[in-house]
Subunit: 213 residues, 2 copies
């Protein structure tokens, strides 16, 4: 395990360029093909050796975390912005639609956002903050009588996980599918018929499923 230069250490300019190119390449690759793209392949596309890649990011997970940290930021920002909407129901719809659209446009994003990164503390912090804000939005939408009272914030996880299942070859198809899915969900969230009990979904494993026994 080597040390990764933090904000304090300054990189040499060529190293800086390489690093930026790596992150940009990885972002595109993950978006297009999901998190399965190999480190060797990323290095090749970025025009560097694998050692260079591993010097900056000692593990694949660290690369994933880096790549999606600002995407996650954009995502939580979207939640905060939507929560500021004077109409809570419209804000609620924006959150659901916005997150699902992001997810559909980026195959790696869903995996990254739904995944718990044990090492990346700020990720969890931002997530928690966004969830809190969202919870406020939910209760206001309920108070306004637009959102069904038995909706729980765990249902957002349900929506995101369901939306994640809509894997398709083309981005356009994924976005179209996500839009229709969201429309169905939003209709259901306005209705008021009895529902099975809410479920708290566990987050998925990061890279590689765990093998029982």
């Amino acid at each position: 395990m080597r040390d990764v230069p933090g904000e304090t250490t300054r990189l040499r300019v060529d190293a800086r360029e390489n690093r930026d190119r790596i992150v940009a390449t990885a972002r595109e690759a993950f978006a297009a093909d999901g998190l399965d793209v190999s480190m060797t392949e990323i290095a090749r596309r970025a025009g560097v050796g694998v050692a260079t890649l591993y010097r900056r990011f000692p593990t694949k997970e660290s690369l994933v975390t880096e790549v999606f940290s600002d995407q996650l930021e954009a995502c939580t920002a979207e939640v905060h912005r939507a929560a500021a909407d004077p109409d809570p129901w419209r804000g609620f719809c924006r959150v659901v639609a916005g997150l699902c659209e992001m997810q559909a446009r980026d195959r790696g994003f869903s995996a990254a956002f739904l995944t718990a990164f044990p090492d990346a503390v700020p990720v969890d912090e931002k997530r928690a903050s966004a969830e809190e804000v969202f919870a406020g939005l939910v209760s206001r939408a309920k108070a306004a009588g637009r959102l069904r009272p038995d909706f729980t914030t765990d249902d957002l996880t349900l929506v995101l996980m369901a939306n994640d299942g809509l894997v398709t070859d083309s981005v356009d198809a994924a976005v179209a599918a996500a839009r229709r899915l969201v429309a169905y969900f939003l209709q259901a969230f306005q209705a008021n018929d009895p529902l099975p009990p809410p479920v708290r979904l566990g987050l998925r494993e990061a890279l590689g499923r765990d093998r029982p026994r």
Copy 2:
């Protein structure tokens, strides 16, 4: 590529027992852990060598096809049974709920049912037949005024793919999540507000994603 004894060839009794045990073991393994369970692991759990496994099933895909062929049969049977319901809306609900429940109970099933097996012709045939029957059920449910007119049969694929995203550690949690998801969907399917255009989702690759370029 070796030859696989068909219905015509009779297996030796010990070989027959081994074969049955392999299929049973694989069924359990796939149900519990998905299609990622390795051939070596299946052979080990079945108490046979890998060569024995490969003698019966020359490729992993052939084993998967064999294992899920009768599950698929049960699935299409469920569709036919539900379609016979005098109340088309109730039948429709049974199809949606039934398929999703099966999917939630068996991690491998979703992958197998949503996946196109190029080699397994009967699979596709049964699928096609079930889809035809389901289409009839859909139009009757619409005629009865219970199902929204803009529902398309492709939306069933949407539901199944969405439900497939609800991967959880425990079966109970998966079933609970699927129930709630289905309840939301059924509410939305009764509503009648405008909706984005329907989407035709492509089926996923069988084993291992394809690598572009």
